[in-house]
């Protein structure tokens, strides 16, 4: 390959070559003169033509970060490498080289056109990240497996595919196969893929395609369901009441009760436990509902705040623009006047007048900014108060419900204790009616152990409830503080930015004034 350049030696890419290439494709005439005067900045070059150069190895390209089109065809390249930094690349031509494997393209996520024709590639692989691929050429390579082409099905935008001159192309069924599996394809092997072929193919591969379609649909549905679920959980999380719509908290409470299994054999325990669970779940649901409702309220509040805030700014921007426009009109006239003056004294006076006007403008703009800032500060304060009230009342409600949970737990514990004591007595007197496994009976011979187990269980339960409560309350408070702080910070930052803008503009105006006379 590239034998026509036989005379010259194989070369490696270095800076000199790159500079020359950039210069050659640069602008012409006047603009070219300017361009030569400027220093070449590799990181701004949009295109690079490096074909017919006997290049042996891709190298030195890491500076071309904004490169969109790279032509490296008709060289002696054996391996795709050194392209990792060309993140904005959309067009890559590597045809007429000696490449044997597709690799090193992982970071080229924006790539749309890829030409790997006339190489020695036997397998399509390592292209998972090229999601935007629309045109893919692989003519005159060593592709043998027709099934391997299916790898390209992941590219939804692919509309041109060229596989001419591969062993695969000799397969009788080749065209039909491709047309069936790539319904969006417009061109195959440099020819338009007509509707007739597509229809034939779709009839021929009807069953397979149906199955694929069905599978795809199922996958999609599953993905959607997953997404919905996640979104819901996220919503619950944002409302600070995740995992409260069910018996999750209850189960968590009873999770590590000591001797739980044994205790459950006690008479009346099952029904007691059942009622307890039922009541707990009810309270949890109450918490959950309140949480969602409160979340909604807070959301509307936040939205209405932001909409109010965003409406205020354009109004002030308009006023500032008005002031600026007025000033500039007059300023231009004054500068014009300066040009016609020759008397240095009068000139001096006029220049000073101009400076005064600039200062006045500065003051006006600053005053405007101050107004905006103070008004925004007012509404932020108002918002802070409102949102704090909401959060406060939410916390109060939540704490009330958690208190009920604790009462429930106390109550339950009391009853369990009674049953345990009764059983203990019975075991002591040995007049137990119920049939009981031996290990349970063994347990109830030792009063201290039972009582201790019960006490630990009770403590654990309360601990779990308290933990959940604390978690909720802290998170709500943290959210509120972060929100208000964030708003205040951005506001301050923006005001600072405006003020610095104003000052810089004033400097610019003064500079202009100095220059003009």
């Amino acid at each position: 390959m590239s034998g026509h350049c036989g005379k010259s030696e194989p070369i490696l890419i270095d800076e000199e070559i790159l500079k020359k290439a950039v210069m050659e494709q640069g602008p012409q005439y006047e603009a070219g003169l300017i361009a030569t005067a400027e220093e070449i900045v590799f990181s701004e070059v949009p295109k690079l033509h490096l074909q017919y150069r006997n290049i042996l190895k891709i190298d030195h390209l890491w500076e071309f970060t904004s490169l969109t089109k790279l032509e490296l065809n008709n060289n002696l390249i054996r391996k795709i490498e050194g392209l990792d930094c060309l993140i904005s690349l959309t067009w890559l031509d590597l045809s007429f080289n000696s490449i044997e494997k597709i690799e090193g393209l992982e970071s080229l996520r924006k790539l749309e056109v890829l030409n790997l024709s006339n190489n020695r590639i036997p397998v399509i692989e390592n292209m998972d990240t090229l999601e935007k691929l629309t045109i893919f050429s692989l003519t005159n390579n060593l592709l043998e497996q027709l099934d391997n082409v299916l790898y390209l099905r992941t590219f939804k935008n692919l509309f041109t595919l060229n596989l001419l001159g591969n062993p695969v192309h000799k397969d009788d069924d080749y065209k039909c196969f491709i047309a069936a599996y790539f319904p969006n394809l417009m061109c195959l092997d440099y020819r338009h893929l007509d509707q007739k072929t597509k229809n034939e193919a779709s009839i021929k591969y009807h069953y397979v395609l149906e199955k694929i379609k069905r599978d795809g649909l199922l996958m999609q549905q599953a993905a959607e369901a997953e997404q919905r679920k996640e979104a819901e959980l996220q919503l619950h999380h944002d409302a600070f009441v995740e995992f409260l719509n069910g018996s999750y908290l209850f189960k968590n409470m009873l999770k590590d009760d000591p001797e739980a299994d044994k205790l459950h054999y006690l008479p009346g325990m099952a029904s007691l436990l059942h009622t307890f669970e039922h009541q707990m779940v009810e309270l949890c649901m109450q918490l959950f509902e309140t949480g969602l409702a409160e979340h909604k309220r807070r959301e509307t509040e936040v939205n209405s705040f932001f909409s109010g805030q965003s409406k205020a700014v354009p109004h002030y921007q308009q006023r500032a623009s008005q002031i600026l426009a007025d000033f500039e009109q007059q300023h231009r006239e004054r500068i014009e006047e300066l040009h016609h003056l020759s008397d240095p004294e009068v000139l001096m006076v006029k220049v000073n007048h101009c400076k005064d006007e600039i200062n006045l403008l500065c003051n006006n703009l600053m005053a405007l900014d101050f107004q905006l800032y103070s008004q925004l500060e007012d509404i932020i304060k108002k918002f802070d108060i409102n949102i704090s009230d909401m959060v406060g009342s939410f916390i109060e409600t939540v704490q009330g419900i958690f208190a009920q949970c604790r009462d429930l737990e106390d109550n339950y514990n009391e009853k369990v204790r009674e049953i345990a004591v009764a059983t203990l007595e019975k075991v002591a007197k040995d007049n137990l009616e119920e049939d009981m496994p031996d290990d349970v009976r063994m347990l109830f011979t030792d009063k201290d152990t039972v009582m201790e187990a019960l006490a630990t269980g009770h403590d654990n339960h309360l601990q779990t409830i308290n933990d959940r409560e604390t978690q909720l309350v802290t998170r709500v408070n943290a959210w509120k503080v972060a929100l208000v702080k964030g708003i205040q910070d951005t506001e301050l930052k923006q005001s600072r930015m405006r003020i610095s803008d104003i000052h810089r503009y004033m400097d610019y105006l003064r500079e202009q004034l100095e220059e003009s006379h």
Partner: protein, 664 residues
């Protein structure tokens, strides 16, 4: 004279002739003489009375005699006037319910406006007496002149034909109505536009309130000044009110014949054709009035094609309290007692339908025939035909002039005038029609697609409106006077390729407003060099580049670009060889980025072209973090701008050309 004698004989046969009538007939002998020649053209029913009609006339005569005996104070009723053939005909039989094929005449509005437009009024003479003759609607349509009774008869016939429950009413009305004098009324075409602005204000006030809305700072102002202003305005308003009051009170002297003038109009009762409320129609104007209207002063009688009713209610205080329950004999005395009324007719039809259904079940049910009273005979008038041409011509002779309060309305039928004029409304500043204020004209079917022209005589400007097919999609044009230097305001259809919506031209300046352009341009303001005077002849010459002083273009925000690269305003200062570019404001900022270029000199025969140097550009970049552009990019930017400048100059030339050619 044969017919006359014949009718005399007939009358004598019935023995109902009064000396008065005889006299009246001889009064109109000349009319009848003229009619005699065309007599043969009329159908037989016009010239003779059928046996039913003779019986009816006898009944009517008897009724009249009894009526004048019982109520000697009341005026005689209009029962049997003489038709165009000199034959006595009962008024109800003169009504011929007619349905035309024209969809425009299916509603009462269409019928009323047709009748009002198509006929011209022949006032009653004397105005306090009932007419002695009443022509059929067919001859009235031929003549195109009619008395108010003939107006009413025609309108009522049309309304009955389209299934309205309509009645001819004979009564008394005010002078202006009887004489079709509308000089005290506002012209209906002069609609007040105040309501529209009110709505706009309302919608502005209804903006959503948000508790976080930043309220603009209160402007400090003096209460005293405001009060003074208010006082002044109030005083002005009072003055204005007084003036208008004075004008309004300049009413004509009171009518000596008030309450005596005879008029005929149409009453439409509710119930049919989804009419919700009873109302009157004045057939002379075609306008509807409520039954409580003060223009109608009293009712003597009313009739439709089925019966004749005499009013037994007191209407010395106008018609406001009248009750139109025709079945109540105490209120309305029918001439034909026991004859079917419209209401009964409807009921009968319903009953028949029902009994038909019933009779299918029990066949033996025989319908009981009631002893039949004298029913109203069929109309003697032949079928009324209205041609399409009649509808188009509308007015007698194709045109009509109506005078309203401070306004004169001239109407023409289509194609009558060669300039396509349909309507001309002239408003005056005074009531004597001497000082013209605004002349508004409506056109149709014109080659230049002109639809409306409004000439303000006082401010001396003309406004023209066009249909969409006009060249350059011109829709609206307003100018002070027709010369090249005049002030001109144009509006265009939105389908224009260049998106031009409005163009305002004043001497030395031109403003163009665009809408929906791909390049987001929405405003272009051009200032021409005033020192170069261009006269009418000069308009056609190419507007030379030197004529342009300054071009300002403004663009909407293109959200696809970052604000600091999206041009908001471009100013081409052509004489100064400068181009100034202002970019859009970034969010939250007050000051936009700016750039100003000085164009390098082009090469001439003497000098080489000027090189582009760094001091030809001055930029202010609002974001200090952004890297300043290098010289190459700036140069490319300048080249683009210079290209655009050339394009803009060309476009302005085109605009100029368009203006001069559109005003031709």
């Amino acid at each position: 004279m044969e017919t006359l004698l014949e009718s005399h004989d007939e009358e004598q046969l019935r023995g109902g002739e009064t000396p008065e009538e005889k006299l009246q007939v001889s009064d109109h002998q000349d009319l009848l003489l003229s009619l005699e020649q065309t007599d043969a053209l009329y159908p037989e029913s016009y010239r003779l009375n059928s046996s039913d009609e003779v019986r009816l006339l006898a009944v009517a005569d008897n009724f009249q005699r009894q009526f004048s005996h019982l109520f000697p104070d009341r005026k005689p009723l209009l029962l049997c006037p003489i038709n165009e053939c000199g034959v006595k005909k009962f008024v109800s039989t003169t009504l011929q319910p007619t349905l035309t094929i024209h969809p425009g005449l299916f509603t009462w509005e269409g019928c009323a406006s047709f009748v009002a437009n198509f006929l011209s009024l022949d006032p009653l003479e004397p105005p306090v007496d009932l007419p002695r003759y009443l022509s059929s609607s067919t001859s009235v349509l031929q003549r195109q002149t009619a008395t108010c009774f003939e107006f009413g008869t025609l309108l009522c016939s049309l309304l009955l034909g389209t299934n309205y429950d309509a009645y001819c009413v004979s009564g008394y009305a005010v002078r202006d109505m009887c004489l079709l004098d509308q000089r005290l009324q506002e012209c209906p075409l002069l609609d007040t536009q105040l309501n529209v602005t009110d709505e706009v204000v309302m919608s502005l006030q209804q903006q959503q309130e948000n508790k976080y809305t930043v309220r603009p700072l209160r402007e400090l102002e003096s209460h005293f000044v405001i009060q003074q202003e208010k006082k002044k305005r109030e005083a002005e308003a009072v003055l204005l009110q007084r003036q208008t009051l004075q004008e309004d009170t300049q009413q004509p002297p009171a009518d000596p014949l008030q309450g005596l003038r005879v008029h005929c109009w149409v009453l439409v009762l509710s119930g049919s054709r989804s009419v919700q409320e009873n109302f009157f129609i004045d057939p002379l104007t075609g306008k509807s009035y409520s039954t409580a209207s003060e223009s109608f002063l009293g009712i003597e009688s009313m009739w439709n094609n089925l019966n004749y009713y005499v009013n037994m209610q007191d209407c010395s205080n106008g018609c406001a309290d009248m009750v139109y329950d025709l079945d109540d004999i105490k209120l309305w005395e029918p001439v034909l007692y026991g004859a079917t009324s419209k209401k009964q007719l409807i009921l009968n039809v319903l009953k028949k339908k029902e009994s038909h259904m019933m009779s299918r079940i029990n066949h033996d049910d025989e319908e009981q025939e009631q002893p039949r009273a004298l029913e109203m005979p069929r109309s003697w008038v032949s079928y009324i035909t209205i041609s399409k041409k009649d509808l188009e011509t509308r007015w007698p002779g194709g045109q009509r002039t109506t005078r309203y309060r401070k306004a004169k309305l001239e109407e023409f039928s289509p194609y009558l005038r060669s300039d396509g004029l349909l309507t001309r409304l002239t408003t005056y500043r005074d009531q004597d029609y001497s000082e013209e204020f605004v002349v508004k004209e409506w056109y149709k079917h014109r080659n230049d697609h002109l639809e409306e022209r409004e000439v303000h005589k006082v401010d001396n400007f003309t406004t023209e409106r066009f249909m969409c097919e006009r060249r350059f999609h011109l829709l609206f044009l307003r100018y002070t006077h027709l010369s090249a230097d005049a002030e001109r305001h144009m509006e265009f259809n939105s389908v224009r390729v260049d998106g031009l919506v409005r163009r305002v031209e004043t001497p030395g300046e031109m403003t163009e407003i665009f809408k929906g352009r791909d390049d987001f341009l929405h405003y272009r303001h051009v200032i021409f060099d005033r020192h170069v005077q261009f006269t009418e002849a000069d308009v056609s010459f190419k507007a030379d580049e030197r004529l342009l002083l300054k071009v300002v273009e403004r663009f909407h925000r293109n959200r696809k670009k970052p604000a600091s690269q999206d041009v908001a305003e471009r100013v081409f200062l052509l004489t100064l060889r400068r181009i100034e570019v202002t970019y859009h404001l970034e969010d939250q900022r007050f000051i936009p980025s700016k750039r100003s270029f000085i164009k390098p000199r082009e090469s001439t025969e003497i000098q080489k072209e000027e090189e582009f140097t760094a001091d030809m550009v001055s930029s202010f970049q609002v974001d200090p973090a952004e890297k300043p552009l290098n010289r190459l990019t700036l140069y490319e930017m300048l080249l683009d701008l210079m290209m655009d400048e050339k394009k803009v100059v060309l476009q302005i030339k085109e605009s100029k050309k368009e203006v001069s050619s559109s005003s031709e």
